[in-house]
Symmetry: C2
Subunit: 145 residues, 2 copies
Amino acid sequence: MATHGRFTEDQVAAARAHSTDDPPAEVDPRVEQLVNDLIGRVADKWTMLILEILAEHGELRFTRIGKLVGGISQKMLTQTLRQMERDGLLVRTVHPVVPPRVEYRLTALGLSLGAAFCGVWIWAGDHLAQVEQARRAFDERAARE
Amino acid sequence: MATHGRFTEDQVAAARAHSTDDPPAEVDPRVEQLVNDLIGRVADKWTMLILEILAEHGELRFTRIGKLVGGISQKMLTQTLRQMERDGLLVRTVHPVVPPRVEYRLTALGLSLGAAFCGVWIWAGDHLAQVEQARRAFDERAARE
DNA sequence: CCGGATCCCGTGAGATACTG
DNA sequence: CAGTATCTCACGGGATCCGG
């Protein structure tokens, strides 16, 4: 089975296992809302991309992440990394040398999120062609008015 | 095992199964780029939320989706639904009656993406407390300068 | 030199009003 | 009811400056 080559079977299995068996039915709407908010934060383009890069490479410097992500501004890179640090997804280590050296590394929490996202990457790779075909069909129909 | 209560075991299993066994190593950087682009489109806050709502409820009207998602503007709702339709994730059915009645329903492709995202929802529910604690710790440290 | 803070500007999101 | 049109404004990108 494929785990995108970046996560172990165990990590993915852990991501899929529930720590708490859910009560029969009904979820507290307040919890529901909190989960939705968290999804809103985490389901961000740059967050997902950075998460993936760090999961793949282990520990990286600021500029390196920017290069690997591609197309991200330094501003958004800093901002996203700070937010991820605040959410406990990664740790930021500053080495007091010159030139400055700042390393970013995922925490266990960040790794678990990366494992949870793994399925989405697999999906993207597997269904890329289908999406492109759907787009062509849609655009063609739109062009015909 | 939990499947977020919205997807069957089979759907989730299908989402995790690779249709093609990847060749030993190396991925084509061009494909890599395309996958990243696709992730960027699909890893959108509103897309994920709408996908979830539709996976849960089956078929819904425009306004109903807006209510269920909560906090989305009509503009973004229209825009996101159109984009998802273009990507082949859902079908839009217009009933030529008055008042107008437009139904949205996920396609098989959309359902498979929902199943792939399932792990992220489970993660959010399971690690909500950890994230909140990390934020409090970060904010407290920041306040102490 | 690297990491990132700051400024300026354009795109894109939100709120409101309007139409078929 | 399901959008479209318009306005406004905050957020994102790019260039520049700065501290170590």
